[in-house]
Structure formats: C-alpha cells, structure tokens
C-alpha cells in the first residue's frame, strides 16, 4: 500500500491539492510521530503534500520595516543569518532546537504549525510580535502569532491553507533579546520551560519590554503584567514577581511537575533580564 504523496513545484498546484492532505516541510515532527504510531500498529498513513520543492519560500528577506522568513527556512539558516541584535533570542532558540541534523532540515514554520506547547520557536517570536502569513487558493491573510496558535496541536490553519511566511517587525536597533531553555540534558532535549525576552533600555530605564514563557501553558504566552512592571524602571530582576506568571497553566508530566515549571519560568525570566540589562 503506497502512501499518497505529492511534491508540487508551484504554489497554485500545492494549494489546489491541499485539502485532505497533511503538509510536510522538514518532516521532523511528522516522521517521528509515524514511527511511534507504527510501533503499536496504530499507523494510519495520511496523504502528504510535500512543500519542499515550492519556489520562493526558502529565504530570509529584510525590508525597511520587516523581516520575512519563508516557510522553508530552516533553523540552521536562521541560526547562521546575520541579523540585528533584536533577533538574538530567536537565533539562540534556533541553535538549541534538536541537534544539528534537525536544525539542518526542520523549518521554523513547521515548528509553529505543529503547535507543540514546548515549541522553542514560539516564545522568541511572540516577543518579536511575529505575524504569520497564510494562503488559501482564493485568499491570503495575516494573523498575529498569538491568534494563530489555538492550543496544544491546534492552530487557525483552515484545511485549505498553507503557511507561507513569518513577518517580523524590525525591533528598535538598540533592542536586546535573549532566550533561555531549561531541559534535563545538554543537547536534544524538549524544554521543561523556556523564556524569551526583548527589551530596550535607554539611559538605564526600560522603554520597551516583551517577555514570553513556553512549555508552561498549552500555548506559549506573553506576560503583560510582567512587562508592565518593568516599563519605566531600571532593569532589575527583582521587579519580576511570581504573580506576574499567574496566567500560566503548567502541567505535571514526565519532565517536571507544574510547580517546578512555574518556579523555573520566573527564574529563567529574571536571569534573562539580568543578562540583557
């Protein structure tokens, strides 16, 4: 029994063929999941739409206002790109996704469309105010990342939609950003918790702060209370308080209990602020 597999070379053909098929980019989420299912004979092959041969989707392009990251851009491309310091957090995340083999093939957009609560790309992209561009045969639309991600393995993608690109507004030239990931080993590890921050300090005073935490809720979240607490203040980690993380809803799982996750998230955030200040 051969699995239905299409690898179109034009966007039109891809969009026309899309309904009923699962999009495959780097395959680093799809193929491992198949192996797990096959092991217990629970595998039901779905028709695949391989987008890796589509033209024009593998670039990182900068305009005056935005960075545009195509759907086929890999973590390795992102890690190696020469980008302003405001993208440092995203690049640090890129360097910590899986190992080099995964970074060489896995796409940033695949990470988002897969919508894992532990997706390392999401927190830094939330701090960057990322928007995601979706295409269907008839229309294109752009959604803020937070509206695109609905929950664990759930997104706003319609069955006939493909994610084409990420749009990242250029942060202020003096903005600084970082990403911290916590796991139980040094490489190849799914995060227990991770934190991203993008801040902009002028004359010792925080002018602009965006903070996000991942793996502590079904979808990674910005922390508006924490951000508000920092604005107009000197960068001082003690300003960040446990109650600023009240909106998080961490779970207990094989990696860690919820209480630890919450605690670790705050610790990571404070450390980030310390290094960025």
């Amino acid at each position: 029994m051969q699995q239905d597999y299409l690898r179109p070379t034009s966007l039109e053909a891809a969009l026309a063929a899309l309904p009923g098929r699962q999009v495959l980019a780097g395959g680093t989420d799809i193929l491992p999941a198949e192996a797990g299912a096959q092991a217990w004979l629970r595998h039901t092959p779905r028709p695949l739409l391989d987008i890796s041969a589509l033209p024009g989707l593998n670039g990182i392009e900068a305009s005056a206002t935005h960075l545009r990251i195509g759907a086929l851009v890999t973590w390795a491309q992102l890690r190696r790109a020469a980008l302003p310091p405001g993208f440092a957090g995203l690049q640090q995340a890129a360097a910590q996704v899986g190992g080099a083999q995964v970074q060489n093939r896995a796409t940033l957009l695949g990470n988002l469309c897969n919508a894992s609560p532990a997706a390392d790309g999401v927190p830094p992209l939330l701090t960057l105010g990322a928007e995601i561009e979706l295409a269907s045969p008839k229309a294109r639309r752009t959604l803020p990342l937070a509206s695109f991600l609905h929950g664990n393995r759930s997104t706003a993608l319609a069955p006939n939609e493909l994610a084409l690109a990420l749009l990242l507004p250029l942060p202020p030239a003096t903005a600084r950003a970082g990403f911290l990931k916590l796991g139980a080993r040094s490489h190849l590890v799914i995060s227990i918790a991770m934190a991203a921050a993008l801040i902009h300090v002028e004359n010792g005073i925080i002018q602009h702060a965006r903070l996000a935490i991942g793996a502590c809720s079904a979808v990674a979240q910005r922390l508006p209370l924490a951000e508000a607490a920092l604005l107009g203040q000197p960068a001082n980690p003690a300003l960040l308080l446990p109650e600023h993380l009240d909106a998080l809803t961490p779970i207990d799982d094989v990696r860690a209990p919820a209480t630890y996750r919450r605690h670790a998230a705050l610790t990571l955030l404070r450390r980030l602020l310390e290094t960025l200040a």
């Binding site: 597999y5 495959l24 217990w40 083999q101 995964v102 094989v254």
Partner: protein, 876 residues
C-alpha cells in the same frame, strides 16, 4: 523512479516517495553502514550528509533526496578527510560497539569540512545529535579534534599492557560491520511481534483467517513455550497464553511479507483484551499471586548476616532511597533472522549469550541442543540487556514451521517496551561508626521491583547483600534484598546487577558518618577500606589484589586540588564528591567456566577460536593479546574465529565483567598449551623465541615443520563456594575495586547539575589494553551519569529516546582515569574485570558532590532538576 547520487554514484530507486531515506539506503542500495536506532531523529545513528549537511536519513522522505548528493559512511574512505577521521577514531579507541560510529563520523565530517581544527565546544555542538551508549564520548571528541593532525605512529605490537587498536575496529569505521539488522536472505519472511498494550490483562485470540498474514500464537510452539535465565525458572512465555503481565508482553506474532505485515492495523487483530489493574512492587506484597509459583509475589530473597555482637557505636546515619527503572539504551534495537536447515535451525542476530540462546531455542523447538546453531552478529551494545532471549525463540519457531528464513527488527518503542530494565530499588539502610570513625555496623533492606518475570532477579537478590556494605571492614552487617514481582517490565541484568543502587545508599551514609566523626570523607573511606588479608562479610579472606586503598591514595591529590578549586557564584555552588565500590567478577557462587582454543595448522595458520561475544567492550582484542602473550607470538599473527556456537567452545556469557578474567585465563591457558606443544616438537626450552612469518613457524630461528595441526585448549572456572542461608561463602574468586571523584556545580535556583570533572581510579589487576580499559571506564561513567541525573523509564510514557533521556555528548565532563594494578594471581597476567565496576561509583560520587555543594541529600533518583531543588529546600 527516483535518482540519488550516493557517494558519487547515481542510483535509480523504485520506492514510494515517502520512504525514509535510511530504508532506501539500507534495503534498496544495500548500504547498511547507515544505522537505524529509532526512526525518530533521536539517536543520530542514521546521520548522513545531504549536500554536505548532516541529516538524519530516517527523517528524509525519499522524494526530498531526489537528485541530491548523499554521502554515507561507505563513501568516507575514498576521501582524504574521511580516511583521516577513520584512522583517528581507530587510534583513539573512539568506536566500541560501533553502532553509533557511522553517524558520529558523518556529523564530524560536516564539521571538519569548514573547521579543520575544531575546539571541544565546536565538536560537541556538531556531534550533539548523535547518541553513543558505549564510549562516554570523550574519546570521540579527542578523535575528531585530532583527525587532521594525527601523527603517523605505528601502534605497538600488542603485548599485554600495550594499547593496540581494536582488532575488529576497522569494519566499525567503514560501515562494513554487520549488526543484527544488516543481513538476512532476500526471501526472508517478516515477523512482527504483537505485544500487550496493557500492564496487566487477560486476552483471548480468535480466528486470524481474515488476516493477510499468518498469526503465530502459543499453539504454534512445537516445544516448551517458555524461557528464563535459570535452569529451574522458565517463567516467561514466548507467546503468553491468555494472560499478559506487562506492557510489552508478547502474545502473538504476525508473519508474512514485510509490506503486508506492516500494513495490518491493530484494529484488525483478532485479540480481545480485558484490562486488569496494574500491580506495583509495593502493592504486590499483598496482592494475588502473579505466578502460582510465587504466592507472595516475592521472587527471591538474599540474606547476609555477619558479626554477632554489634561493637559500641558513637555515630549513626540512616536513610531511605528510591531509584527508577533504567533502560540499557543500546543504540542497536534487537534484530536477527533464523533459517531452518533440515532438522537443524540457525539463528543469527545480536546477543550477549549465544550458548544460553541455544539452550532456549532447542527447548522451545523441542529439538536437541546440537541441532541449534547461534551465529551472533556484531552487537550494537548490550550492557546486560541482550543476555535474555528476545527474538530468538520466535524467529526459530517461525522459520521451523515455514521452512523459510524469517527476520525481525524491533522498533525503538518495541525494544523499550519489551526488554529488561535495571531494577528500581527501594532501600532503607543505616550505619554506625565509633568515635574514631571506624565502621561498626551496617543494616540494609532493599526491595527490588523485578517486574513481570524472573529474568535475572534472583541474581540481583543474590549479589546485592554481598556488595551492599561496599569494600569496607564492617564488623556487623545485616542485609536483605528481595526481588518482588509486579506488572512492570521484567527487570534483568544491567551493568552492576543491583549493586549500583545499593552503592548509592552505602556511600551516602559514609558521608554523613564521616562528617559526624569529624573526618575527611576520603580519609574516612581509607580508614575503613578493605585491604589484602581482610575477611569480607561473607567470610571470604582476600589474600591478594585488594586495590581500594591504592585507588584512594591515587585520588587524594585530586581530591584536595578539586576541593580547593571549588568556586561559588551567585546562583551556583560547587561541590566535590567521592564514592567507592567493589565488584565480584563472574557469577555469584556458581560455576561459570570458559573454554578457549588455539590451533596451528601445518600450513602455518594460527587460529584463535574465541567464543566470547565482543559487544563493544573489547574482548576480541584483549583475549587475543592474552593468548598471544602466553603463546609468544604477536596478535597480528592470529586468525580469529569468533563466537559461533557451531565453531567455538562455550565461553559463557558476556556479563558480570567476567570475560577478561574468566575467558582471559582460559585464553592464557590455551596459549600456554599450544606453546608447550610447539616446544615439545621443537625440543626447545621454555624461553624459546617463536616467530611466524609467511606461514613458516620458527623456534629460536629454526623452522619447525608440522605434519599435523597442533592444538592448545584452555579452560577456566573461577573457584567459588555457594552462599549459605546467612550469605556466607566464597561468592567470587576475585573483586574489582574503584573510587571516583565528581566535581560539579549545582544551580541553587533551578536544581540543575553541571558536572565539571570526574576522576576515576580503578583497580583492574592488570590493564591488558589500557586504552580499552579507559573506554570501559568512560562509558561506565556516562551510564552512571544517566542513572544519577536523568534516566527514568516509565512504561508507555517514556517509550522513545526523546522522552527517555540518556546522556548526550554535552553531558559527560572531562574524565581522568587512573589505572591501579593490584595483581590478581588467578587472573590472566594479573587481570580482573572492568565492565561493570566503572558504573557503580559514579552516581554515589555525584550525589556526594551535590551534598558537598548544598547539604542536600538526594534520595529520589534520578536527580531531575525539580527533585534536586526539592532536596535543597528540605536540606535547609
């Protein structure tokens, strides 16, 4: 039709576009150098270069490789850089079992293409996606860093004590080594075990007439439908009969052509399940019997009582510990194939114990022992997990019934679910010492969760009481270890047989007693250390080769230097820990003989018939060095006939750290016997010089013509005396000793552990091949790190290598190995064993260091960050 450019050659392949590139390379192009350990991107064994960039071939659909340039391990030797890397791996001893090696080499190639002289950090980043379970990574890092600047030296001839590269090393670097999944006849049928998804269930199997493949069940077994390690305990079914005792218990197997079998969905199987409540080891003590034979669910109990009156004590320490299931995590999942030859059956595949496999297969088929031949493939790691049979009986049954060759390759989840594990131990222990710090008593109560079947549970229950007080003089010991059945995976043999768990308790108590007695923690251990002439708690007097004090003395300068170098920072506190161990070499109070054979033909062909399976630990090389030394000819003169029950004599299993000691002694005897035969013919004195050049044997320079094949056979069975009800006897002929230091930092806010350095002093009697010994030490330490900090198998929840974490290249710090040689007169040239000893002290040394840094006592293991943090909070 897809075109691939592999190692510079274009190939056309007809396969579905979604086929994993790893499968295409292996199954269609017969390039089996690319290994598969998980099909999930987690192990990196399948790493290849795709347009120069490292990629997991298991995650690349064939369609994406169309017209792309692919480099596999088979293409390395033709490239100068590739050849240099292979040479460097060989010279550094960077490949042990070799299953990870192709992936390591390919990842390193990507790095060296842009960075010819990488730093250690660059190397770690580049190789971070490839797991190795054998080496502890340090030698791999060294090999990569030195690849482009390897000095061209000729290795020494290979006398005992010299580090020569592994004799079986080259094939591991070129992709030519054949592991269990690498060969099978093209017409082989595919066997797919069907396993219980429930920890505990009743089931019934209906008609399989609707299936496009055959369903083998218990009813198809021609002989005895059971197996087990002990001759009198055959409690595990090949195919369970109506009752499954763990998630992974095998109930049936599909048999047919591979594509058909793999397409059969679970829902089509004619099996009806009735799930029953799972029973933990704790609950089992009051639950109905899981096996009628053990009504109280206690499989086995080991006792030790030594010393009548307890000397007066000044200080006491007590504690309770809980460890977890630990998976062997060999990178090669179980795989093999079987074929019927008339009234005989041949079974090929990875194993640690071919002779035990033979016995089981014969009984399951109901045929004589000599109708079964086990032909081990290369073994991609074992560590105790490939001692029990897995695929062998069912493949044999399938091949026997159909007359067709039959193969199977376990998936990673199947391997994890079905294979044995390290016993989780619940330990309560207390110890006392007098005012001067001399130990007065030790009490130990260990409950080991032995899971659904006996496997090696009785061995663990037997070994633990002997070892649990450690290598110390303790006048009064009361110890009990019980192996308790449950509906968990069978716990079996895993590097140390329960001793690593016990060492965690014992060494933690010593730290507390040392502190209470006001003694330095190293000096406390030295004060109490066993020495030559001491009598152990089993009543055995150790006349020789008690090298613990020498190990501790060798560590002392490192201990002080590392302690002086502790630097605390805002969030981190530094600590240095210490732990010791001893380990009885060979089976506990039981015969475990080995026989080795050498022949020299009239044509001058010198052949070593060596039945000891080399699962990566290096026995092929070490035993040849020993035989060579005893014979008086260099290892290079030897042709090797390796482990095959049809060709070699029984060397016993590769476990219990016994091959160097037991088979080594047999190899020495074989070498001596052949030498004696030669000298008799030549009428030469004992110091005669032998040489073998171009098939001509010379004795003291004079050619010696042979009209018949000369033979030298040697056997050795270490002398032991079985333990009595109080654990008294001579359980082992000799013991390995070791002490290790761990230096680390603890993140006080996150509970993460950052290892800085391990210094390991091991008394191995004699290091036959020092670089191989170091490799065992480093690999054992890496597994000890995993046990201490991250490994926890939870059935159904950590059934893959991204949820079940083993150390990566970045998790093993610098290791300094100090080899202590306290000559063992019974061993070959004084040697003992090292396989298991290396692992035992690591976890306790790490916990000792955590306590040194923070005052926290780790009692729930592994010490995941949240547990460390909790312990720190409790500690204050």
């Amino acid at each position: 039709m897809t075109t691939l450019l592999v190692n510079g050659t274009a190939h056309s392949v007809t396969a579905a576009p979604a086929t994993r590139l790893s499968a295409v390379l292996r199954d269609h192009l017969n390039l089996t150098g690319t290994k598969v350990g998980c099909d999930a991107g987690d192990c990196g064994a399948c790493t290849i270069l795709l347009n120069g960039a490292q990629a997991c071939a298991c995650l690349v659909p064939l369609a994406q490789a169309q017209d792309q340039a692919i480099t596999t391990v088979e293409g390395l030797a033709a490239q100068p850089l590739g050849a240099a890397m292979q040479a460097s791996f060989l010279a550094h001893g960077a490949a042990q079992c070799g299953i990870c090696t192709p992936g390591m080499l390919m990842a390193a190639m990507e790095l060296l293409a842009t960075t010819p002289n990488p730093t250690a950090a660059e190397t770690e980043t580049a190789l971070g996606g490839v797991l190795c379970r054998c080496t502890g990574y340090r030698k791999i890092i060294q090999a990569v860093m030195a690849a482009t600047s390897l000095p061209s030296t000729t290795p020494p001839p290979g006398a005992v004590g010299q580090s020569i590269p592994r004799l079986d090393g080259l094939a591991k670097l070129t992709g030519q080594e054949q592991f269990g999944a690498d060969t099978a006849p093209a017409n082989a049928l595919w066997l797919r075990p069907i396993r219980s998804p429930y920890a505990h269930a009743r089931f019934s199997i209906g008609s399989a007439a609707h299936l496009p493949a055959r369903l083998l069940t218990a009813a198809d077994i021609p002989g005895r439908n059971s197996f087990g390690i002990y001759p009198d305990i055959k409690d595990q079914s090949v195919f369970a009969e109506g009752y499954a005792r763990y998630r992974g218990d095998c109930v049936a197997a599909l048999l047919g052509d591979r594509a058909t079998v793999e397409a059969i969905p679970w829902a089509d199987l004619p099996i009806t399940w009735e799930e029953l409540p799972a029973i933990s080891a704790e609950a089992a003590l009051t639950a109905p019997a899981l096996h009628p034979r053990w009504p109280d669910n206690v499989l086995s109990t080991g006792h030790l009582r030594s010393g009548e009156a307890e000397p007066p004590a000044a200080h006491t320490a007590t504690g309770t510990w809980q460890t977890s299931f630990v998976e062997h995590g060999y990178i090669e999942p179980e795989a093999g194939w079987a074929e019927r030859h008339g009234d005989a059956i041949h079974v090929h595949g990875c194993t640690q114990a071919p002779y035990m496999d033979r016995d089981e297969v014969a009984a399951v088929l109901g045929i004589p022992l000599d109708s079964v031949r086990i032909i081990p493939s290369a073994c991609g790691g074992g560590f105790g997990g490939k001692l029990d049979v897995s695929f062998q009986p069912m493949l044999a049954v399938a091949a026997w019934l159909t007359g067709r060759p039959v193969r199977t390759i376990y998936s990673r989840p199947e391997s994890l679910a079905s294979s044995t594990k390290r016993h989780p131990a619940h330990i309560q222990a207390s110890a006392s010492c007098d005012t001067t710090g001399r130990l007065t008593s030790f009490n130990f109560e260990g409950s080991y969760d032995t899971g659904a079947y006996a496997s090696w549970g009785p061995t663990v229950a037997g070994r633990v009481p002997v070892h649990c007080m450690g290598p110390y003089r303790v006048p009064h010991v009361r110890a009990r270890a019980r192996a308790i059945l449950s509906t968990n995976p069978p716990s079996g043999a895993f590097r140390g047989f329960g001793v690593p768990q016990a060492a965690i308790a014992q060494e933690a108590l010593w730290d507390e007693l040392a502190d209470k007695a006001g003694l330095d923690r190293l000096e406390f251990r030295l004060l109490n250390a066993l020495r030559d002439g001491d009598t152990t708690n089993t009543g055995q007097t150790l006349h020789h080769s008690v090298g613990l004090a020498a190990c501790l003395e060798a560590l002392r300068p490192h201990w002080h230097a590392l302690r002086a170098a502790r630097r605390h920072s805002a969030h981190r506190r530094a600590g240095v820990g210490i732990a010791c161990m001893w380990y009885g070499i060979g089976n506990t109070g039981m015969s475990n003989p080995s026989t080795m054979r050498l022949t020299l033909s009239p044509a001058g062909r010198l052949t070593f018939h060596n039945g000891a399976v080399d699962i990566g630990q290096g026995s092929t090389t070490v035993l040849t060095q020993i035989a060579a030394q005893a014979l008086g000819l260099p290892p290079a003169a030897f042709h090797l006939v390796l482990y095959d029950t049809g060709l070699t004599a029984d060397a016993g299993k590769t476990s219990a750290s016994r091959q160097t000691f037991v088979s080594g002694r047999a190899a020495q005897a074989a070498g001596e016997a052949l030498r004696a035969a030669i000298l008799r013919r030549a009428n030469a004195g004992p110091d005669a010089q032998l040489a073998l050049t171009n098939g001509i044997l010379t004795v003291n320079g004079y050619p010696l013509a042979l009209d018949t094949t000369l033979e030298g056979t040697g056997s050795f069975d270490p002398p032991t005396v079985p333990l009595d009800a109080n654990g008294q006897g001579i359980p082992y002929a000799t013991y390995g000793f070791a002490a290790q230091l761990a230096a680390l930092e603890v993140d006080l806010q996150l509970g993460t552990i950052h290892l800085q350095k391990i210094v390991a002093a091991h008394d191995v009697g004699r290091a036959i091949n020092p670089i191989l010994v170091e490799g065992q030490v480093e690999g054992g330490i890496a597994q000890g790190i995993g046990l201490a900090l991250m490994e926890e198998y939870l059935p159904g929840r950590t059934e893959n290598l991204h949820d079940y974490l083993i150390p990566t290249i970045g998790d093993v710090p610098e290791i300094e190995t100090i080899l202590v040689e306290a000559h063992e007169p019974q061993g070959p040239f004084g040697a003992k064993g090292i396989g298991e000893p290396a692992l035992v002290p690591t976890a306790p040394a790490i916990f000792s260091a955590i306590r040194d840094a923070t005052g926290a006592r780790i009692t729930r293991i592994p010490a995941l960050p949240h547990r460390v943090l909790e312990a720190i909070r409790h500690g204050h």
